[in-house]
Amino acid sequence: MNANTGLLQAELTQANALLRTVIDENPNIIFMKDWAGKFLIGNRALAALYGTTPENLVGKDDGAFNKNAEQVEFFLKNVQAIMSQSETQVVMEESTHAVTGDVTYFQSIKKPLTTKDGKKQILVIANDVSEIKRVQQRLEESERRLRYVLDATCEGIWDWDIKTGVVTHNQQWCHIAGLDDQYLQHPVEVFSTLLHEDDKACVMTRLQSCLSGGGRYQSEHRMRWRDDRVVWVLDRGDVVERDSDGCPVRMVGSFVDISERKAAELALTVRTELLDAIFELSPDGFVSFDEAHRVSYVSPAFTHMTGIEAARLHGLDEPCFTELLAQGCAAHGRLQGVDALRRSTTQNKPDERVLIELATPDKRILEVGLRASEASTVSQILYFRDVTHETEVDQMKSEFLSTAAHELRTPMASIFGFAEVLLTHELDPVSQHEFLDIIFKQSSLMSSILNELLDLSRIESRRGKDFVFEATHAQDLIALVVSGFKLPAGRSMPSLVMPNAPLYILADHSKAHQAILNVLSNAYKYSPAGGGVQIELVQAKDKSGLPRVGVRVTDTGIGMTPAQIERIFERFYRADTSGVILGTGLGMSIVKEIVELHGGEVDVVSQVGAGTSVTLWLPAS
């Protein structure tokens, strides 16, 4: 061995060491395998992957370090395939870490080699691309997610290249617009042709504002598609790129069909207006409670009835509401709590109602009902109906019936009782005559009561509709009443004080006749001592200044106390209760009804022991 050879040997050894260092320090995996897949050489990166040392790799195959048999088989087949073809290939492959199980992705350059003795070997330089691979996977996942979201929400998206004037859409956009996929890209001018003519100017203004830096673009507007269908859309977007001069370059956005929502909103608006009108106009009061059982709405009629302003009620819970309402109620007429009303309102009795009595601002009887609501925002609605008038009428009716029954039973008691006396007692002729006379008079009284009750009820139910008002000669009418009057025995005719010039009244002839006759009959009945009776015709003006004529009947009889005058028009009220003066107690009620239906009034002046003067004021014709 010469020195030269020694020098060469030393240089070779040095070069080998350098190569080894380069191979070992390289972050890429570098190794060589023989045909059987056994490592001829392997660097530190590979040893680190397989959890061993470079020296320990030599002479072993992948199976010694990688538990993933599938990968091991792939590696062997792949390198053998490449070795048999003698062309360098780039292979994407993965390797599982023996200890951690982490998967590493490689882009491997595989170069087949052949030794001088013809043995096939392969050099593999594997570049770890795991990070790139993961970024790629995340990107794909992100794109997939966006697509899913857009598909799920039915959002159309648009991307406007402002310099070229081309707008790009997704399929969803075309779908909403009723267009096929050839419209995925189109000039921006097409967009404006799709806008509803009434909304175009407004949309353009908003877009322009966004382009010139006035903030995000958002618009709810109508679009008129090619098939003339009008849809409402919610369109949103923003400029995402501007050039160095600040001019917009790119604008993107999304839009969605909100036609259904708009239709629902419109229906809701119509319904709300309708309900508002009903609540405003209804004479019944309504108070609604929200899901927390607090007052959420108060109708104007409720405030009108109770005098409680809506603002004082809003947000009150049930006990506070009941308390506030109770402050205006009579002590005996309070609402016994909303919960009590709710409990009594069951499925079988959905219209259970209670009565409450207000003392302020006016005395009113209110009927209160509760309706539970199925709606999520309304728990229940209370409604209040003013039944003051009905209640009073009911009360008057039952009082009237009770009084009428009483008044009829009294003569009936006499008829029944004295008839039994006549049937069961041995009586002398004088007594017999006396009792028969009682029966006769009480029968006529009963008959009069029934007739007058019918008169009164007819007048009341017709409310004057059957009255025929005509110009009536007052003097003639009075003369007619007097001539038809059955003068009590031993009494003289009434004296008449009437002007010569004819006076005309606007009256129903027969009803006015009946009224004057009743008053005249009273004048004789209540002056049993036989004093004179006078009928006078007087003229005056009523409160509105219209001329009227008074028929004044004056007697010099027993007269009335102020307390008696007060009750004179009360049904069945009799100033005389001794039974000496027969009467029904209905005559003056009838007079009052008739005169008032003529638009007139009745004046009564009286003094006990001096007499009574009754004036029937009727409108002059």
């Binding site: 039973r409 008691a413 004295f418 209760t577 039974g579």
Partner: protein, 120 residues
């Protein structure tokens, strides 16, 4: 002779009750509550027929309360007479101590039957 007071503002009803009772009773009549109370004090009747609805400041039920509220007059038999005739009226009168309740119309037989049984 048993004393009976008939209180009614209608003479015809007083007359009917008086005739119904016949000759075996001593009868006094009053036409209102005040007059009735005065006669109860002076005549101490055994039986009183009392109209429920009377004119004047005292009605029949108020007079009944006074009679039944006074230990000296509590024992007096009181028959209320009325033209109303709702079942509840009779209940109310009995609760307040009335011994009988006559609803119009009624005949002499009813009156006499009650008086005789009440006096036994």
């Amino acid at each position: 002779m048993t004393t009976v007071l008939i209180v009614d503002d209608r003479p015809v009803i007083r007359r009917l009750i008086a005739i119904s009772l016949g000759q075996e009773f001593e009868i006094f009549e009053a036409q209102d509550g005040r007059e009735a109370l005065a006669l109860i004090q002076t005549r101490r009747p055994r039986i009183v027929f009392l109209d429920v609805m009377m004119s004047g400041d005292l009605d029949g039920l108020q007079v009944l309360d006074i009679i039944k509220g006074d230990p000296l007059t509590r024992h007096i038999l009181v028959a209320m007479v009325t033209g109303r005739g709702l079942a509840s009226d009779g209940d109310d009168a009995r609760r307040r101590g009335a011994d009988a309740y006559f609803t119009k119309p009624f005949g002499p037989h009813d009156v006499l039957t009650w008086v005789r049984s009440a006096l036994k």
